[in-house]
């Protein structure tokens, strides 16, 4: 629909919208995160929900203790190899549409513990991540920036067509394989359907 006409009608007190816009507006205005924290980034996440930063402005103040009721997983902190299967399992238990924010250096790459024997080198090896936030830990402003980025991303999703989101695509992968702790490492070390090593140009 023509944007100018829409604005003009709005001035006359006529509200015109599309189903897609209304649907996306509803979704992006009530992103309920899952209530779990993995490390020190979780403290910043808690600070973001408190009065000074007030995450409620984005409709995201309700942290759900159950993955069944959550829309967003904030992976806030170091994911150890012992914890990774549980994180993937929780993600599998969330209902579509679901989103993931990888918060902090550890969640996106392993961070300062990358070369450790027990730290996963980024949660995006197993589950699809929508927004990565760098920082160690990221400030609450950075987490809010991630929320705004995610809202924009939701706004741009079309309900039909080739680029429709995963939950409207019947053929899309719904369940992600949970890695098994094996004798030396997690098995498999990454999910090739989600992640492949980026090419480093030196």
């Amino acid at each position: 629909m023509d944007q100018d006409l829409k604005i003009e009608l709005g001035k006359q007190g006529v509200f015109v919208t599309t189903l897609e816009e209304l649907y996306n507006w509803g979704r992006r205005s009530s992103i309920w995160p899952m209530q779990f924290g993995l490390a020190c980034c979780a403290i910043e996440m808690i600070a973001t929900t408190m009065a000074r930063y007030d995450l409620a402005r984005f409709g995201a103040e309700v942290f759900r203790p159950s993955p069944r009721q959550a829309d967003l997983m904030i992976v806030s902190g170091t994911v150890t190899k012992k914890m990774a299967p549980q994180v993937v399992r929780l993600y599998n238990q969330m209902a579509e549409p679901r989103y993931v924010i990888a918060m902090g250096a550890c969640a996106i790459s392993g961070g300062p513990f990358k070369q450790g024997y027990n730290v996963l080198k980024g949660i995006d090896r197993y589950i699809p991540v929508d927004v990565h936030i760098p920082g160690c830990p990221p400030r609450p402003e950075a987490l809010m920036q991630a929320f705004i980025t995610l809202q924009k991303k939701i706004d741009e999703q079309h309900l039909t067509g080739e680029d429709r989101p995963r939950f409207l695509d019947e053929k899309a992968q719904g369940e992600f394989p949970v890695p098994e702790p094996a004798e030396h490492d997690l098995e498999p070390p990454s999910n090739p359907g989600v992640w492949s090593a980026p090419v480093v140009i030196r």
């Binding site: 012992k82 024997y117 080198k121 702790p181 094996a182 004798e183 030396h184 490492d185 070390p189 980026p198």
Partner: protein, 218 residues
């Protein structure tokens, strides 16, 4: 607090026949320690805790140390007679020959305990115990029956170094998962080859990343 030598003498007086060795620390901190032979260690630990003058009632820290096999070589001059032809005549001539003797000191694992006394406000006393080797005889007596606080730390030492504490009430891995086979804090531990993406690699990591890339290209 008594000096470490005095504590050693007190132990030997109280527990006859106990193997205690004084391990000096030559650095400025001069934190000397006592090495206990594992056989009598529980008795010695009970004495250290219950003796009214020492009263080490608090075990603050338990850790492990991995000592690899140490290969030493020394050059020895050896005199021996060699048959040689000198001026066309065969003679027995004495010669000095340098030989290198190599000998390998077997490695061992060590458990280190730091003891304090809350009642007497002194400490730390550092005690150590060594296993026979690093492979199959890795058992040490657990001191958890003496100091309950050592329980989780001995589990951690078991998890990361592979020292088996006999008499521990619940010896399981504590940080790694149960099916894990390696001991990550040992010096010869090789971590899994997941070096496929190292954007800012340098030094050891760069070498591992290059080795991974070379293996992937084959």
């Amino acid at each position: 607090m008594k000096t470490v030598e005095e504590i050693k003498a007190a132990i030997q007086a109280a527990v006859p026949g106990a193997g205690v060795e004084f391990v000096p620390n030559p650095s400025p901190c001069a934190q000397h320690s006592l090495r206990l032979t594992p056989g009598r260690a529980v008795e010695i630990a009970r004495f250290l805790r219950d003796d009214p003058e020492l009263a080490f009632d608090f075990c603050s820290n338990v850790t492990g140390v991995d000592w690899l096999d140490k290969e030493t070589s020394e050059k020895v001059k050896v005199k021996r007679t060699v048959n040689k032809t000198v001026d066309g005549v065969e003679q027995a001539v004495e010669e000095t020959v340098e030989e290198t003797h190599k000998h390998v000191e077997p490695g061992y694992l060590e458990a280190v305990y730091h003891l304090y006394s809350m009642a007497k406000r002194h400490g730390p006393l550092v005690i150590r115990m060594r296993t026979v080797n690093r492979t199959d005889q890795v058992e040490l007596p657990s001191l958890t029956p003496i100091w309950r606080g050592a329980e989780f730390q001995e589990r951690e030492v078991f998890d990361l170094y592979g020292i088996v504490f006999k008499g521990h009430p619940d010896l399981r891995r504590i940080l790694m998962w149960d099916g894990f086979k390696d001991y990550p804090m040992r010096k010869d531990y090789v971590d899994p080859d997941d070096y496929e993406y190292e954007p800012t690699a340098h030094d050891a990591v760069l070498k591992r990343a290059q080795a991974h890339q070379a293996a992937a290209e084959k």
